[in-house]
Symmetry: C2
Subunit: 452 residues, 2 copies
């Protein structure tokens, strides 16, 4: 549990040592840092930008509490006068960002911070941490959405997400892209996401029979029961569930569904559907869970499995096939001097930027142009918005439901080929001639310096 | 940021709905749940148990605050009388656990909780979440230790861990198994871990030349500078670092090291070592970072790369090759009645258990025997300890340095073959005849029921 007064310490030490060296040498000018993903994994045709709200909240609340300063002093690394300087430091900069729920591609800035370099430097670690996690998860969850083709999705990931913060952000980001609910109770409280759940095997086992367990649960929750039927034998479990469902029906209640959690989900869902239908229970839904991700959901849906909703847990919650993105936060300008880095495989493009998005006549995305921020590009819709100025938010944080709607609209504009779960074509992102010229000039100049 | 009064809501909803159904039906007896990893990934020859302290702190503090209850009431899911019951609920159970830093294998309980079933059920999600994350990361970090063969390791993962909680736990668990330090400042404060860091490319780029940046940093931190030398050209960077290091030497200061962060780390480390040695700077160390994990470190060390220490980030911090473990928390007994689950691929063994570890004459681990807890096994050293009784800790939480020492000892007792980074043999874990008999009896009995 991180206390608010400790939040500023969620940083790599070098942000703070660099800050002291900047400060001691009068390197206190305006810097622009750009946050972007260098390359997309082959299994990702797009990214869903997410995490901005947490990044902005960090900047709004940016300050070194007495408790944080006392710890820094205890390390013996920092000078007293620098710690005094930190004690009054606030974030006073400007932030441009892609709104949460919008789609981005490799090399496109998701967020750019322009601020006195010490502020922008100290913000690095937390800002990457949150936007990295949430963009990765929103993207992974959106892929589940593609695979599910309209069937329901719920987030069951909390127990195996990487810690509590991840558990909350997985609930938030999966809901953002269209999941219906989460099992995570605290996420329900914090984000207003509908919460849902079924029952565990332990519940069945704590009663002397499966039927007794079903009956007990239905008595307590006559309107919201989903029976887990695979504890001993799935088909026997389905028959017992059907029996209890019929008893409920006689009382005017309704069994919402049954859950399959192991075995051959395709074959079992067909047999269970048949058992339920033959019992006159076509309204009882089938929920499947257990090791699901977009690949497995895609197989089941393509095969026509009669599954109404999927409970998606671990593999979505840890973005199992790609549990990280190559996200960087790079200095692109210092005191109006554009900057770029030339390290092999890690080169960055100079200058504050804007992404201009072009649509075809049907409203479908056609291509993006990555340009310098001050360029005026005819016909392109700018993607980054100015969201903070002088350290103040320029608009309230949008509600999660609003972000969810934005994602729905944006996703509808992405042509189908880019939604392929594997080997999606690369969405076209061109560089503006001005940006390309600047990058080349800088590379050539540095090359000369390198040989001097 | 989770507030202490919200912590109890870090749970799947079904824990609470099951609780209400248990409560409504008088299912309030003592239950034992066992937490274990079903199977190890092929790349894991062992696991390092970790996360117990956080799990126990949750149980010590187990209570529903007025704020938590108000949210639960607002959902409309729970009855007023059940919420009243929750308002006075505390954890009063017993916990047996493998101490943090000890080694465990597939199927062995890491923790067992015996408590009134409602308490033990509600604890499930948080307890798994923390022990899963920390065991996974401690194990991954221990593999880096194997690969590094005595060279230094530091944790640089924070920016791309899955959220803040993961960042803290990665620092904790990597230090637990022998990392020297972390870049994570808050982890330094919370866990007393040494903090360390170098500089970023932005620092170099904010100055008008690389040399000027090096000199500025050295002036501010004459005793703790590590120069990042790959911003423009690594070998040029090394020459400039050497020059500044010589200036420092003349002032009686010492450059600690240089950091390589891109390119061919083997070839570059050799050339940089030569540049430093030829400049008369054999004491300047080489630190490497950038995409490292146990596999890459192993290659570099085997090839004799003159790298003194590795900064390990993302791939360790997300356990990139296996970002989850198949960890479960299963009911194994209810009111002295052993229980087991038969779901295909997810069967569990009944009864409270103990792991007895056998060592050879040289003190090396030979095999484990998984037995019922009440069995007395000659010559085997029991692995699980009773750490909580009546909801109270039986000993203070051990210091992280103490856990670190325990890991060192335990790891020294694991025979080398099980430390292979790939295709390690399976460490022998036998079942006691009594446990095997009980499991068979239960399976047969359930089989009969299944056909009834």
């Amino acid at each position: 549990m991180v206390k608010p007064e400790e939040r500023i310490l969620i940083t790599d030490l070098y942000e703070l040592t660099m800050a002291q060296a900047y400060w001691a040498h009068g390197v206190i000018g305006q810097a622009t840092f750009s946050l972007f993903v260098r390359d997309l994994p082959p299994e990702r045709g797009f990214l869903v930008a997410a995490g901005l709200e947490d990044a902005l909240r960090f900047l709004e609340d940016f300050h070194f509490s007495p408790e944080a300063l006392a710890y820094l002093e205890s390390t013996g690394i920092f000078s007293r006068s620098f710690l005094d300087y930190l004690s009054t430091l606030r974030f006073t900069g400007e932030v441009w960002a892609v709104p949460e729920g919008a789609l981005v591609f490799a090399g496109e800035p998701i967020l750019e911070i322009t601020a006195p370099i010490i502020q922008a430097q100290i913000a690095e670690t937390y800002v990457i941490n949150q936007i990295h996690l949430q963009t990765m998860i929103a993207t992974k969850a959106a892929r589940c959405l593609i695979a599910a083709r309209g069937r329901g999705l719920v987030d069951f990931a909390l127990r195996r997400t990487h810690g509590v913060d991840a558990g909350l952000k997985v609930a938030r980001c999966s809901y953002m892209v269209g999941f219906q609910a989460t099992s995570n109770v605290l996420a329900g409280k914090l984000y207003g996401i509908p919460i849902t759940g079924t029952m565990a095997h332990s519940f069945i086992m704590a009663f002397s029979s499966e039927e007794e367990a079903f009956r007990a649960f239905a008595e307590t929750f006559p309107e919201r029961s989903v029976f887990l039927i695979d504890t001993y034998d799935t088909l026997e479990g389905a028959r017992r569930a059907a029996q209890v469902a019929l008893e409920m029906k006689q009382k005017g209640q309704r069994l919402i569904g049954v859950r399959l959690d192991s075995g051959d989900l395709l074959a079992l869902s067909r047999e269970v559907r048949r058992i339920l239908d033959e019992a006159g229970l076509p309204e009882v839904r089938i929920l499947a869970s257990g090791g699901l991700d977009e690949y497995r959901i895609d197989e089941l849906v393509r095969a026509g499995a009669p599954i109404d909703a999927f409970g998606v847990g671990t593999r979505m919650g840890v973005s199992e096939d790609w549990p990280w993105l190559d996200m960087a936060y790079k200095l692109v300008a210092y005191e109006d001097r554009p900057a770029s880095k030339l390290s092999p495989g890690k080169a960055s493009l100079p200058g504050p930027k804007q992404v201009f998005r072009f649509y075809d006549e049907g409203g479908q995305m056609r291509e993006d142009l990555l340009a310098l921020r001050e360029e005026r590009i005819e016909g392109g819709v700018p993607l980054l918005e100015k969201v903070m100025e002088g350290g103040r938010l320029l608009r309230p944080h949008p509600a999660l439901t609003e972000i969810r709607e934005r994602f729905q609209r944006a996703f509808g504009q992405l042509p189908e080929p880019y939604k392929a779960l594997r080997d999606a074509p690369r969405y076209p992102v061109r560089l503006s001639p001005a940006l390309e010229a600047l990058a080349n000039t800088l590379a050539a100049r540095r090359g000369e310096l390198g040989e001097s």
